[in-house]
Symmetry: D2
């Protein structure tokens, strides 16, 4: 695995405050595309690649890994429920935690082999959609998945929602977690994301999003209904589903760099 | 990877003439089962495990690997077309060889990760159904798949039909091939399997099947419409779909052992 | 639609007390089979046929309808969640009731066309697995599905768990419901099925099951932890997953007939 | 089913020369979209709706039917191989013609029920992709599918490639066929489409496409490598996959109307 990406993470740079930018990519299937992966891979430092269960297929996976490698973007697996129709956004109840962990393992292994052929070692795993939401609440499931990640490859990091139960679970299991924040989403005073249905859940003014991103990284704080809430921001998640989203991601990157913050992969 | 299996392949044993017995297992899906995997894993020395495309799912894969490891049976991947409904028996045309190789890689990688958690390194790949039939005829496809196998793990063997184009392709690519024969199937004078529709295509008398197996291994010969045809028999494929099939497999094993031939995995 | 089935429901017979026997059939997929459909269709008067979402495929559907028609067994649709892997037993959350109703409509329509070619008009719809369980609790979902059934064909009956919310919903919507009971399952004092994890949830003594079936039909009563609970038994559900299950179903039928109760389809 | 659409097919109009415009729509799946269905449904008179096998799902089907009905566009089924990944473009070999016909029946029935709820009776069936290509060559398959269409509903028309074997098959079976042409595709001197790999296979100049469309309808002729080839043009197929494609479709419609040709559904 290449240890540097451009001049971004040279010695001087690691000393500087900085942050990773990550995006979910390769989320098409067969003839269908989702978002503009090429544009996003020009912006981010870390890519989470769908593994064929909620989206993605072997061919899209291979193409997306190649595009990421070409740009020096780090690559991780983005496993989800086996629910193509529902895009992994529906909760599927009734499986034992150990069985869900095996489904995660299957997906990570599949991507791992495809990445290896491109000369790329996976840096991490990030759960998708409903699976991530359930694991954030269900510590037994989080532990089963964390163990599966560790057993696959002890070098794999686990990209998790900041403040979620997965942080403690990772620590307990000896899996390095990387805390992810959303600059375009509102948080409550406990540091959890506001549900999309609530006012303030979505921030769509690019300038506001960019300001929030800078503050999250520099101060480790987000403003939540008037108070300041601490938040560990090791990676900022940006989306590429729409034209506007790509521009927003680009604005976040420019704002971080303009604030003299290093934008660099968390994986060293 | 454990290098010995019981006392079977000690020094003295490797000197003896012998053969591997392989079977396709783990070919259920979700709530459905196919054949009696436990019974077959008691008989064979090598297992080809379905990887979720034509059959198999992560849970069945994990259970089947565990059952094989428990019995000291060697484990390989059995990838097929992404055609659950058709059980991988239908030819699916229109994909580029390189893309089909990527589909194979996905499946091998997925099983590989699941096997690794069980402390098991895959010994080989054997193509399933229509994919195997197409690759046996289409050298370009065989070469693309062979390269994918080699790039995944250079230690992987390729279990292929005796006399097929894959043997030469493997040699050219530096992938070890292991030649598989069918004691219960008729061959033509070129050493190819007779189509199932032709008379003599299926041998169902257990004593005849057992005699053929012994002769294939001891003499490297099969009788085809009166003449003797040379056939490289490194592994004999046995099936477990029906009660009778399990008994036939058992009869083949007993006959080989009765003839002082070693039944041992090809993977050392 | 033929209005009579052998001599079973002649004038005299309808006057007699009686009951329908139903079973879920056609629950294989592609190469896989589930249970012994032929044996069950020899026993029951009504068949619920899987429609391709949790199990079943067009070919199995056509074969199963033909087998039912041949035996004079009435045919209905057995739609479930689109979850082949989980066999429709996992709850899938996040879809709007109207959307789930559309998924039901799709399945009923598909079977309806296949049945029509066999000269058979569907008599009813019975929800499968987790979808049935959710609809039994969620009145909004039940109403959306009930309306979809009515709009497809006003002659369709709705085979529902006795005492479930679907009975009232059907009445309100003008959909005829038929109440289904399980002779081999324990009930609580409110007339609900005991969860499988509780003691007494499963009755496996064939004589006891047969006695319970007769009492349910003759008296409309089931014994639940010492007290008698009224239960509307218009149809008894029997299963064919295992050899023992087929024999149990057969024992139930013999007991009913031995008690001079008519075993006849609810659809006239 | 409403028998008129605006003033288009009044008495006077039917006397005029005219043509149908058809497009394949509803070809998304789950979260994914394909083309701009709303724009295409504003242009065409007949819509072919994917039925969930190569594309489409119950929810997309219902929405697309509703959009078509709203605009007075006639609705038909667009069944394909059960190959979501390959978008129905890969040939899948090994199924008996009768079994493929049953798969078609399943899809037509599913859409039929969904359409019925929208107050819409299906006017026709048009095969998709590889299934259409195979049926155009394989008369036995064409006959099996034609019989399935007729048995589903004798009022269903069969929208088929002009000059294909399906025309004669339909005539023999008593299924009305409607001949479809492509104004943006080159034809050979036998009236067959040139393979996409050949020069002249694709016509991309909008003015040329529009001129060809008018000539096909007015003269029943297409120019093929210098000679004029007769071609029955009852419906022109237009695509909406790309922005340019929608504009091309619009240009074709304007050219036809500018040439005083009626653009009206074939279904009366």
């Amino acid at each position: 695995m290449p240890r540097t990406r451009g001049g971004v993470d040279g010695n001087g740079d690691r000393a500087r405050a900085g942050v990773d930018l990550n995006s979910d990519v390769g989320e098409g299937f067969g003839p269908w595309r989702m978002g503009d992966d090429a544009a996003m891979l020009d912006i981010v430092t870390t890519a989470n690649i769908a593994c064929g269960f909620h989206a993605g297929d072997p061919l899209i996976m291979a193409r997306t890994v190649a595009m990421a490698v070409e740009r020096g973007v780090r690559v991780g697996a983005h496993p989800g429920y086996n629910d193509l129709w529902g895009y992994g956004r529906r909760r599927v109840s009734g499986d034992a935690p150990a069985d869900i962990a095996t489904m995660v393992l299957y997906q990570v292994g599949a991507l791992s082999a495809i990445a290896a052929r491109e000369g790329c070692v996976l840096s991490h795993v990030k759960l998708h959609g409903a699976l991530s939401n359930v694991a954030a609440e269900d510590e037994e499931l989080a532990a089963a998945i964390g163990a599966a990640i560790r057993d696959t490859d002890p070098r794999l990091a686990w990209l998790v929602p900041a403040g979620s139960a997965m942080v403690a679970v990772g620590e307990r299991l000896g899996v390095r977690t990387v805390s992810e924040v959303f600059a375009d989403r509102g948080y409550d005073s406990s540091g959890n994301l506001l549900p999309r249905s609530q006012p303030g859940a979505l921030v769509d003014d690019p300038a506001a999003v960019a300001r929030r991103a800078v503050r999250m990284v520099r101060e480790g704080m987000v403003s939540a209904s008037g108070t300041d809430v601490p938040l560990r921001a090791e990676s900022i998640c940006v989306h590429g589903d729409t034209r506007g989203a790509v521009e927003l991601a680009s604005a976040v990157r420019r704002a971080l760099e303009g604030a003299a913050l290093a934008v660099r992969p968390f994986a060293t």
